[in-house]
């Protein structure tokens, strides 16, 4: 999908108007951002917004997230195990000690 983020009041207003006028290509709208359909029309709207507000519109392309394809199993398992921890006050760094789960710095270094 196409992610449109705005950084000024006028760009935010333009985005709101564009989304209202072209609901068919809006996947989701947030306060000052929106996800548009990945079609020529979605791109047309996004590019018009950037043309109008060059410095205040950021465009990105997003991909559906599939943790079974994109994320190594140890990361998935660590997330599940940590959310099921007994003591809600245990920080993750402490929780991971003495377990097969990756440490916070290992997680940071790991690129998907």
């Amino acid at each position: 999908m196409l992610l449109v983020v705005t950084y000024s009041k006028s760009a935010r207003t333009s985005l709101r108007n564009a989304c209202r006028a072209h609901e068919e290509c809006v996947v989701r709208r947030f306060g000052r951002a929106a996800l548009l359909e990945e079609t020529g029309y979605g791109a047309f709207l996004a590019l018009r917004l950037r043309e109008k507000h060059p410095d205040d519109v950021q465009l990105e392309r997003t991909e559906p997230f599939n943790e079974f394809r994109d994320v190594p199993a140890p990361v998935r398992e660590a997330a599940v195990a940590y959310e099921r921890r007994r003591d809600p006050n245990t920080p993750y760094a402490k929780f991971a000690v003495g377990t097969p789960h990756p440490t916070p710095s290992e997680l940071e270094r790991l690129s998907l």
């Binding site: 983020v5 950084y7 000024s8 009041k9 935010r12 000052r32 060059p54 410095d55 205040d56 950021q58």
Partner: protein, 221 residues
């Protein structure tokens, strides 16, 4: 805008932002709002934030172009490799070596373009962070201004409602229900206006009567 800005020309059909004008009338009498200090701070913060966002279009175009050339070169090299394995002609071997060399040049150019785009994106992200802070402050200022207007308007409304009821030619009993001319005249009577205002309405028999009732100098049309 000052009260004078709202009511400098009083004529039928005049535009009048009721809430803003009411707050301006309160300000003209030295009224203040509980959020005034906060507003000043927020406005001062705004002036310190401004960073241009680097243009990324050239860097993006360069990445797309080098990528297209790279694809083309890779296919060419693959084709030549196939021909070389089949025929083993010396001419093909020469062309193959030459194309390999070109491919490596194109690869280098593509890597450089990708890195340049990454750098530019990093700079843009920092500039957008600043713009995001700016937008938050602007939203906060809007909210504070609304709050200030509401407080100021509420403080002065009873006096203005009373003035509306006594305005010559008025049929309304409240500021909100009054026509723009009545509303403006009531604001002038209650608030403080120094420069002369222009009256293009038939509510007073002559200028001195108008000036006495309004408490400010007038030009009559």
């Amino acid at each position: 805008m000052t009260l004078y800005g709202h009511v400098s020309v009083v004529a039928p059909g005049m535009p009048l932002d009721r809430q803003q004008a009411l707050a301006a009338a309160a300000r003209s009498l030295g009224g203040s709002a509980s959020v005034d200090a906060e507003l000043r701070t927020a406005r001062a913060e705004l002036t310190t934030l401004d960073e241009p966002v680097p243009g990324l279009a050239d860097a993006r175009r360069r990445v797309a172009e080098t990528e297209a050339v790279l694809e083309e070169k890779r296919e060419r090299v693959a084709t030549l490799r196939g021909r070389l394995q089949e025929s083993g002609e010396p001419g093909v071997a020469e062309t193959y070596r030459e194309e390999i060399r070109r491919l490596s040049e194109v690869e280098t150019a593509h890597v450089a373009a990708t890195e340049a785009l990454e750098d530019a994106r990093g700079r843009a992200r920092r500039a957008w962070d600043a713009r995001e802070r700016r937008l938050r402050i602007e939203d906060r200022i809007d909210a504070l201004e609304r709050r200030a207007r509401e407080e100021l308007a509420a403080a002065i409304r009873p006096d203005v409602d009373e003035a509306v009821a006594t305005t010559p030619g008025s049929e309304a009993s409240s500021y909100e229900a009054a026509d723009p001319v009545t509303a403006a005249l009531a604001l002038v009577r209650v608030g403080r206006v120094r420069p002369p205002i222009v009256l293009a309405c038939r509510r007073f028999p002559d200028a001195p009567t108008a000036e006495t009732w309004l408490g400010c100098p007038v030009h009559r049309l």
